[in-house]
């Protein structure tokens, strides 16, 4: 298989969609840590990975979004599970899915999400604590054998940088880092006020090979962000929007956008110059399949 970074320049790569919404559909209960299913429900995870592979994703993501030791401790009622085990299991089973279902030409991304704690003045998180949490997670993902690392949904650049550095400490593989931003009057910002310009400067400087944005925004809202970031940097870009805005229907988040609408809008992100695209919350394999068809027909 070709190295990931080399392929980036040759064609637009397709990442997979939302893991969380798939697991909820498979019966994940409220307050249950989804990452633990890597150990307790590997059958379900194999099914989800297969569905995204079948849909045509070039890159699938491990089910380890909340699997830093810090986040696992916060999301577990009793004694937290061993973070290293949860991560390694997540990588190993996704790797098995790729091999067993005959998709040897696809890449596996070790997924890393925020610790859930805040840096001051909002909270008491320190660079050292964040770095150590990410290092433990990255090392376990490396042991489970991933091809690249995908740090995503970061809202504080300090935490994102800590994660990139931690991965760099344990691995020489490509690192992607996505922030999650919203559109305000004066432009795009994370909830703590970090900007695309800072992302374009600080994340590659810390060692990221690719940067981008995911979650918080629907596909249509992300098009301008893609143009803005393209103008800011030559670093390869990845965007993974949600399947529209969630609507609350009897206490549950429902995404109303159709796969076709989603794919049509994500193609505008591709037109804006992104090297890779994919989906976030609410994007089922159907969304990825629709996008695959459009990408294949493109140029």
């Amino acid at each position: 298989m070709k190295p990931f970074l080399e392929s980036l320049g040759e064609r637009v790569l397709l990442f997979d969609g939302g893991m969380g919404s798939m697991l909820i559909a498979a019966g994940l209960g409220e307050g249950e840590a989804p990452d633990v299913w890597n150990i307790t429900r590997p059958d379900v995870l194999m099914g989800v990975h297969k569905a995204f592979l079948d849909a045509g994703a070039d890159v699938i993501q491990t089910n380890t979004f909340g699997a830093t030791p810090v986040k696992l401790a916060a999301s577990s009622r009793g004694a937290p599970p061993d973070a290293a085990k949860v991560n390694e299991a997540g990588a190993t089973l996704a790797r098995t899915a790729i091999r067993e279902f005959g998709f040897g030409d696809r890449w596996l991304a070790g997924d890393i999400g925020p610790t859930g704690e805040f840096f001051p003045p909002m909270g008491v998180l320190t660079e050292a604590r964040a770095f150590e949490a990410f290092r433990i997670q990255a090392e376990a993902l490396e042991n489970g054998v991933v091809d690249i690392f995908l740090i995503e949904t970061m809202y504080d650049i300090r935490e994102a940088v800590a994660a990139v550095r931690a991965v760099r400490e344990v691995s020489v593989k490509p690192v992607v880092c996505e922030l999650t931003m919203e559109r305000k009057k004066r432009g795009y910002f994370t909830i703590v006020g970090d900007t695309p310009a800072r992302a374009a400067e600080e994340l590659p400087a810390a060692g990221a090979d690719m940067i981008g944005a995911n979650c918080s925004m629907a596909s249509a809202e992300m098009i301008d962000l893609a143009s803005e970031m393209r103008a800011l940097t030559k670093t390869p870009l990845l965007f993974q929007p949600n399947a529209g805005r969630p609507e609350m229907v009897s206490g549950k988040a429902v995404y109303r956008q159709t796969p076709e609408e989603f794919a049509a809008e994500v193609m505008k992100i591709v037109e804006a110059g992104a090297e890779a695209v994919g989906g976030c919350c609410g994007t089922t394999p159907e969304f990825i399949r629709a996008l695959r068809a459009k990408l294949d027909a493109w140029r």
Binding site: P121, K185, R186, T190, G193
Partner: protein
């Protein structure tokens, strides 16, 4: 005094805790009416911070720093509010911010005013589970449960407190008052609350009027 109120407001907008505390102390030294200093000075400041935040001019760090400055000012002013405490108790109130919601500045102000006006107040703090409101009210023999909610997503918790009271056949025995920025008279009526208060003074008036 007008200029002083402007300074109080600005200290919160700037997130300047030392300045806010200093201005609060100066308000007391000058003998300004404490409640007015809070509502027309400091609270106006924190609401302005909220507005700027909503506009996307400020972000979470500034919001938190503003809230901290507000709390510093309140710490200085609270003893003065409580000084007028009446000898005779008018009734018992259990108060808190509903579960899932950590906004406690307004709730604490209401609690302080109630106790300054002769109510015996049990303040359960913020992020209080539904059951805990009712447990505590039963335990203390409260006349009122006052439930604060600042988020549209946590408002339904106010209704759950009422449901919990009903399930223990305590409706009518213990009254429920709701408040907080997104609440309204209409919301109170819709969920069957016994009253709504738009600010701390109204909360006192409501409790006074309806406590038999």
């Amino acid at each position: 005094m007008k200029e002083h109120l402007e300074q109080c407001m600005q200290a919160i907008v700037d997130g300047d805790s030392p300045k806010a505390a200093e201005l609060a102390k100066a308000s007391l030294d000058k003998g300004y009416p404490v409640l007015e200093v809070i509502e027309k000075g400091f609270a106006r400041g924190i609401r302005e911070v909220g507005r700027l935040w909503e506009e996307g001019e400020l972000f979470l760090p500034e919001l938190v720093i503003g809230a901290e400055a507000m709390k510093k000012a309140m710490e200085v002013l609270r003893p003065a509010l409580e000084a007028g405490e009446a000898a005779e108790k008018l009734g018992r109130v259990v108060i808190g911010t509903i579960e899932g919601d950590i906004h406690d500045i307004g709730k604490t102000l209401v609690a302080t005013m109630l106790s300054a006006n002769g109510f015996e107040v049990t303040d359960l703090g913020a992020d209080v589970p539904v059951k805990r409101f009712v447990d505590e009210a039963e335990k203390t023999g409260a006349d009122w449960i006052a439930v604060s909610a600042l988020l549209t997503t946590t408002m339904p918790g106010q209704k759950r407190v009422i449901d919990e009271l009903a399930s223990r056949s305590l409706r009518g025995k213990i009254r429920v008052m709701v408040g907080g920025a997104p609440c309204s008279k209409e919301w109170a009526a819709e969920i069957g609350a016994d009253g709504y208060a738009g600010d701390a003074v109204a909360a006192v008036a409501l409790a006074r009027q309806k406590t038999a």
